[in-house]
Symmetry: C2
Subunit: 119 residues, 2 copies
């Protein structure tokens, strides 16, 4: 007897579905991947990262460059820090942020290229 627990979908091509199912990556892993993409999927964060790819900047300079409040920038920097995309060093009372590694730069460049090409 075949299970048909949740869904009411009728047309399921068993073989193809099972084939693809067996090839799928772990749910958890794909969630992680999409979660990584998500960080780049906000224009504020992307602008921050792009700005930092030009040079290290303190928080208030970032706010000036993006013309946004210090608080908004700070909150987003927190997100970027939590994903290890940016780091910072303290200089006196200021915090200079910079991109964590080349990965980030290449990631941005890649999607910039893709966007240019496709649209």
């Amino acid at each position: 007897m075949e299970e048909k627990d949740t869904c009411d979908v009728i047309c399921v091509h068993e073989d193809e579905v099972n084939d693809v199912k067996s090839k799928m990556l772990e749910d958890e892993f794909l969630f992680e991947v999409s979660d990584n993409f998500k960080v780049f999927g906000d224009s504020t964060r992307l602008k921050i990262m792009y700005a930092l790819s030009q040079r290290d900047l303190c928080v208030c300079d970032l706010a000036a460059v993006l013309d946004m409040s210090q608080s908004a920038i700070s909150h987003q920097l927190r997100v970027l820090r939590s994903k290890n995309l940016v780091k910072f060093r303290k200089e006196g009372k200021m915090a200079y942020y910079y991109l964590a590694d080349e990965h980030v730069v290449s990631m941005i460049e890649l999607c910039v290229e893709h966007t240019k090409e496709r649209y």
Copy 2:
């Protein structure tokens, strides 16, 4: 006289800020870039694309593979279509979806790799 319209930020290093500002890409363009990333930033859409990278699938098979409702899948396919990431062909009453181009595959593979490496 220098403008200080919106923000109340004091510490702005004029030169550095202007330097970076001049190097920034168009707001509109960066918004578009982040908008592209955003599509990959949802696990349902990512799973759909990953499944389609294995083979073309009709909507109900996709629903079965992801164990989600036909409606949810259909809505997300619409998003993917609107971004030209997937296409489809009609076969009778069924719609077989497939990835629009190699770009999409390489994009997914890249981020899968990044994720594996970084975390």
